[in-house]
Structures are given as C-alpha cells and as structure tokens.
Amino acid sequence: MAGNIFRELEEEAFFIAHVGEYITSAPAALHPVLSCEIDVAPDRLAYAHAEYVQGVRRFSLYLQSGDPDHYKRAGALLHALYLSKPIIAVGFNPKLDEVDTLCTGLGVSYGDAEGSLSFGHFFDEYHNEFAAFGLAYDTCRQFEAEPRPINFEFLNTMCVYLKNNGNLSVESLFMVFKSIML
C-alpha cells in the first residue's frame, strides 16, 4: 500500500505533480467518450495547494487531535480545486458542433458517438468541477472499507452544485463526503 496520500498532498511539489497528473490524464483515460486536449495552469495548482493546506489547518483548530480525518481533507481538496479552477482551456477534436452521430467514422458506433457528444457537452461546461470532485471522491474512498458507489446523476448534480454556487465553504464540502460515505 502506498503512503497516506492526504498527508503527501500537504507538500507543494507533490500536490502540483499528483493533481496535475490526474487532471491531464482525464482525456486519455476517458477515450473514446472524451476527445479533447486540456491546459492546466501550474500557478493555479500552486494556489490550490495553499488553499488545501489552509483548509486542513482550519479543521485542525476544531479538533483536539489536530489531525482532520479523510472526509474533512477530501472536503478541503475539493474546495481548493473548486476555488482555483486549474483547467484553463479545453479544445475538442473534433469540435462538438462538428460531431455527426449519423455519420460516424470506421469502428465508431452510433452509440459511442452519441455518448461522446453527450459527455462532451457536459465536460465542456463542468471540466473543473468534474475533475475536482473525481479526484477528491476517489481519494476519499481509499480510506473506506466499503465505499458507497455513486451514479452519474449524483456526479452531474454535484458538478452543477459546485458551478452554480460561488461561495461554498470547506465545511459544506466536508459534509458532502461524510454523507455519501455513510
């Protein structure tokens, strides 16, 4: 088993490398559902790291242990990425308005093309929220013996919630993870 990822994320160089690698891996990992290139800003990752550390320290003040659990740290990580929005550009190839589901390429089914178009529109709108929640959720579940799965409806709802509300607190996002892992 690797080390404790939430502790390692407190170190700036590790945070920037790890979070940056997760985000930039998304298009390849999601192929063929997602066909795009993304640009991630290192300075925004550095800002996210500072926010993550501040979020963890804030919780430390309210705990006699001074050592917040994985729900609180997942909330701090999501909040840091929600604030910093590290993906600064998304370029679809082909462009979404050029995708024709009725005339697909060789080896691409109608269903695959339709799925790609549908998720493409979602990712175009919610790329930062999707990446932020995906990383925080999958990191949090490393600490659960029997993690509860989520479905796409929940993921979609979470991304809209993050996008539509510009003043969410670290504590409200901690409660999201505490609730869904119960």
């Binding site: 502790r7 559902v33 309210y62 705990l63 050592d67 659990d69 998720f119 990191t139 796409f152 993921l155």
Partner: protein, 47 residues
C-alpha cells in the same frame, strides 16, 4: 488564566468543546487509488 491564554493553550472545555467536531483523526488508507469516476463515465456513455 486570561481568555486569550485559554485559547492559545488549545484546551477545549465548556461551550468551546461543544462546538468542536468529534475528535476523529486521519487513519491509514485501506485500498489503492482507483479511478472509479472515470470508469463510471465510460460505463455510462459507452453503448
């Protein structure tokens, strides 16, 4: 002890203790990292 000294000592008592979260600490991970969210998307949108 002054109010300031109490706060700086980190000691929690009375009303202050009530406002604290349950005292959970970070435990060790029990599983490797898995990209379940990416898999969820692929399973949802691949026919």
């Amino acid at each position: 002890m002054s109010q300031t000294a109490k706060r700086e000592s980190g000691a929690a008592s009375g009303h202050e203790a009530v406002r604290m979260y349950p005292n959970n600490s970070l435990r060790e991970p029990v599983r490797e990292f898995e990209n379940t969210v990416f898999e969820l998307v692929k399973n949802t949108f691949t026919k």
